[in-house]
């Protein structure tokens, strides 16, 4: 389960400063911010720009380039379904349809109750036990409709 703290520019500033000794600190900073808050708040962009002596546009360009970085907080659980070829060969497309229908969300969206965010992922490296998924960092292979339903039920439980 995901337990993020609410956005705080003071805390964000601390995180940014803690990473400034690294060479090329932009990605480590963004990962650390997302780990803390669950997403990259808009207000983080000028803070990073200031600290790294970049323009806001440059920082926004970096944030928006990478699929991992979210613009809004995710649900309490994040379910990533692999959509790549090895999983396709074992029925990943049908599982993706099932997940979207059951959760009534599109890719990158969060269920109305704020419980589950559904994200696509292109390869978890579990291609010999396809189709694969990741729920809050835990991996699951050889999925079928029953196992996926069980995963979703588990994430839905309060």
């Amino acid at each position: 389960m995901f337990s993020a703290v609410p956005w705080s520019s003071t805390r964000a500033q601390e995180i940014i400063e803690a990473n400034l000794s690294l060479v090329g600190p932009a990605l480590p900073i963004l990962h650390a911010l997302q780990k803390e808050f669950g997403y990259i708040d808009r207000e983080a962009v000028p803070l990073i720009a200031q600290a790294l002596n970049l323009s806001r546009a440059e920082v926004h360009g970096v944030v928006s380039f990478y699929h991992d970085f979210r613009e809004a907080p995710p649900g309490r659980h994040v379910l990533k379904l692999c959509r790549a070829e090895a999983c396709q060969s074992m029925g990943a497309d049908a599982l993706a349809d099932q997940a979207r229908e059951t959760l009534r969300v599109g890719w990158g969206e969060t269920t109305a109750d704020g419980r589950i965010t559904l994200e696509p992922v292109f390869c978890l490296g579990l291609c010999a036990c396809a189709p694969a998924a990741m729920l809050d960092g835990r991996v699951f292979g050889a999925l079928d409709d029953t196992r996926l339903s069980a995963l979703i039920d588990q994430a839905r439980r309060p």
């Binding site: 090329g24 990962h31 990478y66 999983c87 074992m90 490296g125 291609c127 010999a128 396809a130 991996v139």
Partner: protein
Amino acid sequence: MIRPRIFVPRDAGALALGSEEVERAIIAAERKRGIEVEIVRTGSRGLFWLEPMIEIETPEGRVAYGPVKPEDVDPLFAAGFLDGGPHPLRRGRPEDIPFLKRQTRFTFARCGIVDRLSLVDYRAHAGLRGLERALSLGPAAIIEEVIKSSLRGRGGAGFPTGIKWRTAAEAQGAQKYIVCNADEGDSGTYADRMLMEGDPFCLIEGMTIAGIAVGATKGFVYMRSEYPHAIEIFGRALQIARSEGMLDHGIAGSKHHFDIEIRVGAGAYVCGEETALLDSLEGKRGQVRAKPPLPAHHGLFGRPTVINNVISLASVPAILADGADAYRELGFGRSRGTIPIQLAGNIKHGGLFETSFGVALGELVDDIGGGTLTGRPVRAVQVGGPLGAYFPRALFDTPFDYEAFTAKNGLIGHGGVVVFDDTVDMARQARFAMEFCSIESCGKCTPCRIGSTRGVEVIDRIVKGERRAENLTLLQELCETMRCGSLCALGGFVPFPVTSAITHFPEDFGGAPLSAAAAA
């Protein structure tokens, strides 16, 4: 009393199939019986249809049981599995399982066998011998040895590793870098992940040797965020290596200094391209750079940089330890040594098969892989990831070799083989290739950025039957433009899956099927 040793895989693939639950069941079962066992956490042997595969140490060697479910654990104890007792899940000595017996485990010699986080175990299984020899040889001789081995980059491009090293060694610069490309984004590939989770010290040793050879003191491993287990294990291995004097100042008692830092990507496939990776490491958008200048001259932060794939670097310790000749003797044509082939997708015996180059594609799929998992006929095989060609059965005699695949308009890439049964819709696969390219394009060059989107649209029109012949010609022209005009392999190679699907499976695009003679 010596406690029985049980080897439990903690590779992400084994975890995805429940090895953590099995480990818990083992602990519960030993408590219940009042016995004590020693659980050794390993990587995976790479036989994923048998995972979780548990091994027991017996006087006759190890005995494997798999695939073990938590509910099998009690019956296994009852059957005396701690002494290698009989049980339906008993697989005998792992080395005798045909899938393993037929392999030449060179780079993956330790993976799935050793305690992945024990330097004592690493050394006991021939670890650090390569580094010791490298230290006695010195930089120039190390590079000569790697050149002599004919090792080619395992990331996909197949460029000679030793030449890269020599170029960076000869380049002028106070600071040089070793960058390990662990951005293994190709679907159907997991060799890098398995190695980092199952034998992380091997990669550390390979990078350290590279550092000594080119005069670099700092290394980065750029890992995928999709591999949290590999990130964790490799991070712990780095700490252990530092505390045991294998990294940082005075490596293994020498005057050399080398340290490694992990950097995590953020879900951009294109960052597997080496120059995009360097930009990403620098904190920028992961956009491809025009070459020249080569990274060996002008790489990370403009410094001379060696950038190699995980498997290339992890092959180096054994090459140094056993000598270049032992490695070069293996192989086929200009592809020397071994390659870890990853059998994936709809395949009965999916897993990592390390072998000398030259094995035929059909042997891999039908014989070693056992055909499809669904039991239906194999229709297409995609080799080399999302940018690799789809091969029909008619091309199953193609030997696994860089040049042989190029000659058949394909590529071996990072060694992934994804099998599809006869329910596959090849027009859908071709469309996906273009769609994937449009999602993952870095946007720097027009053929890739715009071409991929137009490609999806044209394929949609062909499938709908709109001016089919005209649109097929247009698609071929578009593919040609992308192939010749793109800055990197993303836009440049996406025509491989698209045109191979059209060429070999025309019936899925509304055309007449190929005759048997034409297919060959």
